[in-house]
């Protein structure tokens, strides 16, 4: 369970996140939608303790992320701002993460195979394609077998086959009872995967409902919702 309550974040005069509240329940995929610059990444960074909110709070599993002991065992995250060092091998990146959480290194091989990077693990991240980097990020997110998964634009850089694989992965994680929050600016893709949609624009919540409640053309609906703020 992820609970966002009255979250605010300002950068100068701009309110990146403005009194945002929503929850992502366990056992379903929650899509986090909004145009570029809507505050999705900022919200996720606050959820993960990387940025401090000006007001409000975000709880993961009922606690603030910064209070978690060995957090990767409870929350897995894919975020652009948490990209690995390019000079390190994918394998080494996962190994230090595992060590820092008291996770056995055997798990590193498992997640590398799970995301299809068993071969590339020894190579430096700087030589990876965007899709491979994304897969490594997913491996890092799943390393601690977390009950909560937060993924910022996970489909970026994946080829059609990768996107289909990702969809299956996300559905599988949710069916195991995990909380899955996935941001995207691509409505069509998220609508195919997510059970619930949280839509934001300019840092504010504009819709929060089951995907099935969105009637008619989702794209029109999305543009109406997010464009209405301009």
């Amino acid at each position: 369970m992820i609970e966002v309550e009255g979250l605010c974040k300002r950068y100068g005069a701009v309110a990146a996140v403005d009194d945002l509240s929503f929850t992502a329940p366990p056992g379903v995929v929650t899509g986090f939608l909004g145009p570029n610059g809507a505050g999705k990444s900022t919200t996720m960074r606050m959820m993960l303790g990387l940025a401090a909110p000006d007001a409000g709070r975000a709880l993961v599993g009922g606690r603030r992320y910064r209070e978690l002991e060995r957090p990767l065992r409870q929350v897995g995250a894919l975020l652009e701002t948490a990209a690995p060092h390019r000079g390190r091998s994918g394998d080494a990146h996962l190994r230090w993460l595992a060590r820092s959480q008291g996770i056995g290194v055997r798990r590193v091989r498992e997640v590398l195979e799970l995301v299809g990077l068993a071969e590339a693990g020894r190579r430096r991240v700087g030589g990876y394609s965007q899709g491979m980097r994304q897969r490594l990020g997913l491996a890092a997110a799943l390393l601690g077998d977390p009950a909560i998964v937060v993924l910022d634009e996970p489909a970026n850089g994946l080829d059609p086959e990768g996107i289909r694989w990702l969809r299956g992965l996300l559905r599988g994680l949710a069916s195991e009872g995990r909380t899955v929050l996935v941001s995207s600016h691509l409505i069509g893709e998220v609508a195919r995967t997510a059970d619930r949609l949280v839509v934001v624009a300019r840092g504010r919540l504009v819709a929060d409902a089951e995907t099935s409640e969105f009637t008619g053309d989702l794209e029109d609906e999305f543009l109406r919702l997010t464009g209405g703020m301009r």
């Binding site: 990387l50 940025a51 957090p71 948490a82 990209a83 060092h85 990146h93 190994r95 230090w96 890092a140």
Partner: protein
């Protein structure tokens, strides 16, 4: 906390920058130490007037390691600047714990290298001094060897703490390397600058490795205390900047 330190140690091992700079510490220390002893021997044999008037075999054994310290400072800087904060703080979200784990890991990684470098550099100097070389057991030398280890380790942590404040390697490198090589020496030329220079981290810390403390300067204890104060300030500053930083 132990897990966090272990993670930091894997990080230090798995990128080339910190690894190479740390490996250079004994290479430079022993190389310069040997060269220093060899040239000292030539000067002594030929009764050259170029030899420093205050030359002693015991003290000259600590010259090499002060050049090795340059590589150690680079290690301290790269260990921090080369570690992206995003993944680091996802793994260890409490900023204070992350800072502590990082400083401990840097110390754990550097300490054995520094101990070996200090002893091997002195040995190299004494051996290449030939007949003029002295035993490492001479009065004052064991204390100075311990002091040299402490001095180098403190300078390394100082560099790391300072880099956490700036997040870029350029500023700490551009400040610390010139300071250590020429800056504070230059300041001692003018009488007015001398007293102030005594309080700079490298000059104060260098008191730790003097075999026979001079009367008009800070003693090893006081010099060490001044350097410790610098280190505490740099690490506290780094922790403070880290606490307030959004990633």
């Amino acid at each position: 906390m132990i897990d966090a330190v272990r993670g930091e140690l894997v990080k230090l091992r798995s990128v080339p920058g910190p690894l190479v700079s740390l490996a250079l510490v004994p290479v430079i220390s022993v190389g310069v130490g040997a060269l220093n002893g060899w040239s000292g021997r030539q000067a002594l044999t030929s009764h050259s007037s170029l030899l420093r008037p205050d030359f002693t075999a015991q003290q000259s054994g600590f010259d090499g390691v002060q050049y090795g310290m340059l590589a150690l400072i680079v290690f301290g800087v790269l260990a921090v600047s080369g570690d992206p904060l995003g993944p680091a703080l996802l793994a260890v979200p409490r900023r204070g714990a992350f800072m502590a784990a990082k400083m401990i890991a840097i110390t754990v990684a550097a300490l054995p290298v520094v101990v070996v470098s200090v002893v091997a550099s002195d040995l190299a100097t004494q051996m290449t001094l030939g007949p003029y070389g002295k035993s490492l057991g001479e009065s004052g030398v064991p204390r100075a060897l311990g002091g040299a280890v402490l001095y180098l380790m403190l300078m390394c942590v100082l560099a790391a703490g300072f880099t956490m404040m700036t997040r870029t390697p350029l500023v700490p490198l551009a400040v610390l390397l010139p300071l250590v090589t020429v800056g504070s020496q230059l300041l001692t030329v003018a009488a007015a600058g001398r007293r102030a220079a005594e309080l700079l981290p490298d000059r104060a810390g260098a008191r730790l490795l003097t075999v026979r403390p001079e009367h008009d300067a800070l003693g090893p204890m006081l010099g060490g205390a001044v350097l410790v104060a610098w280190v505490v300030a740099a690490v506290a500053g780094g922790a403070l900047v880290l606490r307030r930083r959004d990633v």
